[in-house]
Symmetry: C2
Subunit: 132 residues, 2 copies
């Protein structure tokens, strides 16, 4: 039996792995934090399915100048090998400039004994860019 | 024991209740589809916590001209009294005009024997409005 606090610790550690991989520009290591059948739901585009596509998505963010995505876990609740997390994020660029901040919900799954992100969706707290 | 397909049917029925309540402009009935401690995570604003605030949020959408939010369930997976759903939505206005379309993840909880939305987050598939 794994306790709720064990799962929370594993989820927070997974989030730190994610953020560290972004910070060193390693999209493959970012994708490795996801399950093999993971889906990512980025704002303003279609669903991204599977690790290869997820790696490509994060490669694009890194290429576009994203230098950091620090995460703050607010809630984790586990049932068996599935857990959901609620948290807040920031996206930073050069000189630690905050490019975006918002909230996310991630469904985590234990795959091969390790907790990984399985469904990952977020959106911004910032006002939308003003239309022309 | 409730089967996965029973939970999926309950989740889809809950989604239909949600959409029907929006369509008749009844924000209280929309809020009643959520658990008492629910959180809603709308794009471009802060987290909305609790049924009273959720009712106010949907009242605002209805007042702003939202006439329908049809949902399409793509995936439901239950563990005990918790389930997650992945789906797609449209937001329609007058004359069935599509104002937005995108995807969502909802964590459902069985509360007082009924499946209700507990954590609800979505984002648009449409490109962001162009900045000036």
């Amino acid at each position: 039996m794994t306790s709720q606090s064990d799962v929370r610790a594993a989820v927070e550690a997974g989030g730190r792995d994610f953020s560290a991989a972004i910070a060193r520009g390693d999209a493959a290591a970012v994708a490795a934090v996801y399950t093999s059948a993971a889906q990512v739901f980025p704002p303003n585009q279609d669903i991204v399915t599977g690790r290869a596509a997820i790696q490509q998505f994060y490669q694009g963010l890194i290429r576009a100048g994203v230098k950091g995505v620090p995460l703050t876990t607010r809630e984790v609740e586990a049932q068996g090998d599935t857990a959901y997390e609620v948290g807040t994020y920031r996206v930073t660029g050069d000189g630690n400039k905050v490019l975006d901040s918002g909230k996310y919900v991630v469904v985590w799954k234990r795959e091969d004994g390790k907790w990984k992100m399985h469904r990952d969706i977020w959106n911004s707290n910032l006002p939308p860019p003003k239309p022309q």
